[in-house]
Chain length 210, copies 2
């Protein structure tokens, strides 16, 4: 938490360089803006959310939002990274433990995040924004490529590791879309353990089958 909000009448070259408030207040403000951003993006989607609106929700001046995060796209990336934090731990499920149990570890991890109401809401917001807005999709792509796929590829040590990881992710993401977003039955009400039992071998197959 090293953000520095602008001092009144500051004359710095950019909004990011002006003034410096007390440390704790600064960290608190930054968190408040990020939470407001997440809530606004969740509720209104990427397009209808504005820096001004986020500032209003957070109870701060819009200049502070620009100061801490930059453009709307950058606020979104910060909010996604925070919201998506739990999901970004997915590579750990691959890195830790033997490769032949990776399908079940990943499926268990993935549905654990989605079954938890506290982590499901921000994930839903990310999915909705990425599906409906090209800028949001680009941010999502960048995060997936740099924080997830690369680590998985390193672990698998196969030339087509990234394609494998994406096809495995497709089974998981598709199941989440049908179960949690569209809510088709009987999938929406099925026991998570039953789903994991059916999906884990598919994930395993995509990742490690010859």
């Amino acid at each position: 938490m090293t953000g520095r909000p602008p001092a009144a009448g500051g004359s710095g070259t950019t909004a990011r360089r002006r003034g410096r408030p007390p440390r704790t207040e600064s960290a608190d403000t930054r968190d408040r803006i990020l939470t407001a951003a997440r809530d606004d993006f969740s509720e209104h989607g990427y397009e209808k959310t504005s820096v001004r609106g986020i500032a209003k929700t957070a109870g701060v001046d819009p200049a502070l939002v620009h100061h801490y995060f930059g453009t709307k796209e950058q606020v979104f990336e910060a909010a996604i990274t925070q919201s998506f934090g739990p999901a970004l731990q997915a590579p750990k499920a691959i890195e830790e433990g033997p490769l032949d149990g990776v399908g079940e570890r990943l499926a268990r991890f993935f549905f654990g995040v989605w079954e938890n109401p506290a982590t499901r809401a921000p994930l839903l917001a990310v999915v909705r924004s990425a599906v409906t807005n090209e800028t949001a999709a680009a941010v999502f792509r960048r995060i997936i490529a740099t924080q997830v796929l690369r680590r998985i590829a390193v672990r698998l040590e196969l030339p087509d590791a990234e394609l494998r990881a994406e096809l495995a992710a497709a089974q998981l993401v598709g199941t989440a879309v049908l179960r949690y977003v569209i809510k088709v039955e009987p999938l929406a009400s099925a026991d998570p353990e039953q789903i994991i039992a059916r999906v884990a071998p598919v994930v395993q197959g995509h990742l490690t089958d010859p």
Copy 2:
């Protein structure tokens, strides 16, 4: 094509019962409204689309839209059913031919529809609307349940046929979301034949494995 637009000053009990124009003009108007609806839902999403806007795009009176289709939800359902027409042929891929080739037939059919730019655009619109709006999701659920799952279940003759069909669909839908909507690489640029080769056995497994 049996729609009947309202006659000026008609005194019928509902908008659906008033007057009757020449046959060909009526069919033509109905199609024009449906095309306008599809374009509007595609471009603006479910929430921002209105019956008034659709009427304007089609160059007709809003009363005509209500007359042919009813509420906005009903216009959406008609537009989805038309847009989704090719995808609704999926059960045929299951019904026609031996069960042990069903995974490849379904995968080939599915990616055939998505790879065709003419059918991809309306599918994208349906996915975007269903993911972001609850009413649109409900319409989508109803179509999937009545027009797709039931037919697949009849063909499979297994007690958990619908769950199997949904998990198979999840692999296909997830792959489409990552490839055509979010456009993650290398999946977005991969040869469709390579994708079909990897996805078909998964679809087959979900549907027919013991």
